[in-house]
């Protein structure tokens, strides 16, 4: 009660609301630009916080993070280009809905689910910081390796019609993840004398190349897009029936987002992919996934916005930044003389309450900012195809160059786009490749660190309880997917035989 009163007092006596709304607006803009990551967006406002009072400064940074994590879904849905890594899972059904003239509905679902996810994550942050922090500390290299394997296990169900092709695509992604310095010894691998490759290839470059650039290459030979009717270009929030249908994927997204968020390094990308996969597994409309399923948008959007709040648990509790964005937030805390840890909650309770209050305002303002800017975005993507393609290409060049100020990256994205066209022609699904790129480094580095700890004994993965649990879950996922595939195959064959018998 005391904290609630303090929160209300802070709302009216400090520029907290301004910091929350300003941060979210800036974050949405940054997140929506491919290449401008949440961490870059936060870094750009960091200097502004030096002169601010600590509570508002931290709220500005955290609200920017919330906005940026949401903003990534806007280009993912509208132009097949994930603005952030975590928005990659939204591409599949979001863009399919946009191509069906349901872009306004997809954006409405993403905004609605994002706000719910953000508020749920905030509740978890407030109520469960202490127990969740214990989960974060219990994670060993073995558990991180197992988490990576669990992430990869969903390839079995993301592979579309051919499991072999999904597997090939996933391995290609893992191969790309080995480019750069070796995680243990630092030896350069697959860099071919290019210093630009020493730090590896950023997953966002692969995503932009595979999804956006290859789409542009392919659209160059497609007919003019059909004219979208006025009603189809309006932002549409889900109605009662759809809201009820979205409850299950949202619960899945919120749960997975909470758990993934507290693990430093796991992040929103794994959470959104896993929740997409689970939403499909538990859906009554599995056949719609990949072809414009509202649940396929709701689950990852809820998950990555939940992560935006729960990722603050390890930062506030132990000062462990699990991502670049969290590291910038940690920097913001340290600049103001705030030392993360259990004592932060006792000695600087006003700052912690300000942060919670600010995040609440930020999530609510996300809704209003979305209402303001999404119709403009919808109008923009319904311009004539020739101009839209030209502007998307210009946006890709600008955004990709912004990551490292490197034309090499731009050239790389063009080449990855060519690879994307060939993958489409060969029927190789792209999501497994993206998963491989995102998880490859985490899997390899933690696998090898674990073996260094055990002196080469693989038994360490079974001895670690969390690792064993995660690996068992991965096995169950794979077995479940294979069983479903076998069942569907047999059913299809039986129907074909029946049809043939009927003549």
């Amino acid at each position: 009660m005391e904290s609630l009163l303090l929160g209300l007092t802070l709302l009216v006596t400090t520029p907290l609301v301004l910091a929350a709304v300003g941060g979210v607006s800036w974050g949405v803009l940054g997140g929506a630009l491919p290449g401008i990551s949440p961490s870059i967006t936060m870094a750009l406002v960091l200097p502004l916080t030096y002169g601010m009072e600590p509570g508002s400064a931290i709220v500005l940074l955290a609200a920017t993070y919330v906005g940026a994590e949401y903003g990534g879904s806007i280009p993912a849905i509208l132009i097949n280009t994930p603005g952030t890594n975590a928005a990659a899972a939204t591409v599949l059904d979001g863009y399919a809905m946009q191509r069906q003239g349901r872009g306004g509905e997809a954006l409405g679902i993403s905004l609605y689910s994002g706000v719910l996810g953000g508020l749920f994550g905030l509740t978890m942050l407030v109520v469960l910081t202490e127990p969740l922090a214990r989960v974060a500390l219990a994670f060993t290299p073995m558990a991180y390796f197992a988490l990576g394997i669990l992430g990869l296990s969903i390839i079995a169900s993301l592979s579309g019609e051919s499991l072999l092709k999904g597997l090939a695509s996933g391995v290609l992604g893992l191969m790309v993840a080995t480019v750069g310095s070796d995680p243990v010894s630092g030896v350069p691998r697959f860099v071919f004398g290019r210093p630009e490759l020493l730090d590896g290839i950023a997953p966002i470059l692969i995503m932009v190349g595979l999804f956006a650039v290859s789409e542009l290459y392919q659209q160059a030979s497609a007919a003019e897009w059909r004219k979208t009717a006025g009603a189809e270009t309006r932002l549409r929030f889900p109605d009662g029936a759809l809201r009820r249908r979205l409850i299950k994927p949202q619960i899945l997204g919120a749960t997975i987002g909470t758990l993934e968020g507290v693990m430093p390094g796991a992040g929103g990308t794994i959470a959104s992919f896993m929740s997409y996969n689970e939403a499909r597994r538990w859906s009554r409309h599995k056949e719609e996934f990949g072809h414009g399923s509202p649940e396929g948008v709701a689950a990852p959007e809820t998950a990555n916005n939940t992560v935006a709040a729960t990722a603050l648990v390890p930062v506030l509790s132990f000062g462990i930044p699990g991502s670049n964005s969290a590291a910038i937030l940690l920097g913001g805390l340290l600049v103001h003389g705030l030392i993360p840890g259990p004592r932060l909650f006792e000695e600087n309770a006003d700052v912690v309450v300000a942060l919670y209050t600010g995040l609440f305002v930020a999530n609510l303002s996300l809704l209003f900012i979305g209402l303001l800017i999404l119709p403009v975005c919808l109008w923009l993507v319904n311009r004539p195809k020739a101009y839209l393609m030209a502007f998307i290409y210009a946006l890709i060049f600008s955004g990709v160059y912004s990551i490292d100020h490197s034309l090499f990256d731009v050239a790389l994205v063009l080449v990855v786009g060519v690879a994307g066209v060939f993958m489409r022609l060969a029927g190789l699904p792209m999501l497994p490749a993206v998963l491989g790129v995102v998880l490859g480094y985490m899997i390899e580095s933690n696998y090898r660190r674990s073996l260094v700890l055990s002196g080469g004994d693989h038994g360490i993965f079974i001895e670690d309880a969390i690792a064993l649990g995660l690996l068992s879950t991965a096995m169950l996922f794979i077995a479940g997917s294979l069983t479903t595939r076998a069942y569907l195959f047999v059913r299809r064959r039986r129907r074909q035989s029946e049809r043939a018998a009927d003549g």
């Binding site: 630009l33 401008i36 750009l44 051919s162 072999l164 092709k165 597997l167 090939a168 391995v171 290609l172 893992l174 191969m175 080995t178 070796d182 243990v184 010894s185 630092g186 030896v187 691998r189 697959f190 650039v213 542009l216 290459y217 392919q218 160059a220 030979s221 497609a222 007919a223 004539p384 195809k385 020739a386 101009y387 393609m389 030209a390 502007f391 290409y393 210009a394 946006l395 060049f397 600008s398 160059y401 912004s402 100020h405 034309l407 731009v410 050239a411 063009l414 786009g417 060519v418 066209v421 060939f422 022609l425 060969a426 190789l428 390899e444 696998y447 090898r448 073996l451 260094v452 080469g456």
Partner: protein
């Protein structure tokens, strides 16, 4: 079947090339038991196995199931046309990478927007020029002025 076999052959080539480079990775004195080449070699072998399995599936599945290859539906572009059109967009992209260090971000972006719109069937007109200039100006304001990204400038100045 031909397309699937081509896909398998390309995957096999990638696996072979990747394996060849992986096997030449130098081993550091700091390396662990697995070493920097350990997992890459495994990945190459897995990809090669999957490629061979795909090839086998492409050959034997039509015989077992007696299914015909899927044919392109009416209205879909032919492979040659698709690749030629895609090649044009790729060439515009390569042009951007080559020219931008000389002509700078703003001018090159005008050229890219105009070239892409022309390539997609727009005609040379005052409207096209206005949209290209206004578009480039918007990107310049957003990325250079607002976000402070040091984009390439004219003649590298």
């Amino acid at each position: 079947m031909v397309r699937q076999l081509t896909c398998s052959a390309i995957l096999l080539l990638i696996a072979a090339g990747y394996y060849s480079v992986a096997s030449q990775i130098t081993r550091s004195a700091l390396a662990d038991e697995i070493g920097p080449a350990g997992l890459p070699v495994v990945y190459a072998l897995v990809l090669a196995t999957v490629a061979l399995a795909l090839a086998a599936k492409a050959v034997f599945r039509p015989l077992l199931l007696r299914t015909a290859d899927a044919t392109a539906s009416a209205g879909e572009p032919t492979l040659g046309f698709l690749l030629r059109r895609a090649g044009g967009v790729f060439a515009i992209g390569v042009g951007y990478v080559l020219i931008v260090p000389l002509t700078g971000y703003f001018l090159t972006l005008i050229m890219v927007i105009a070239a892409m719109a022309l390539y997609q069937g727009e005609r040379i007109s005052a409207r096209l020029a206005t949209i290209a200039v206004a578009g480039a100006a918007s990107f310049w304001l957003l990325f250079v002025q607002l976000l402070g990204i040091p984009m390439p400038s004219l003649w590298g100045a």
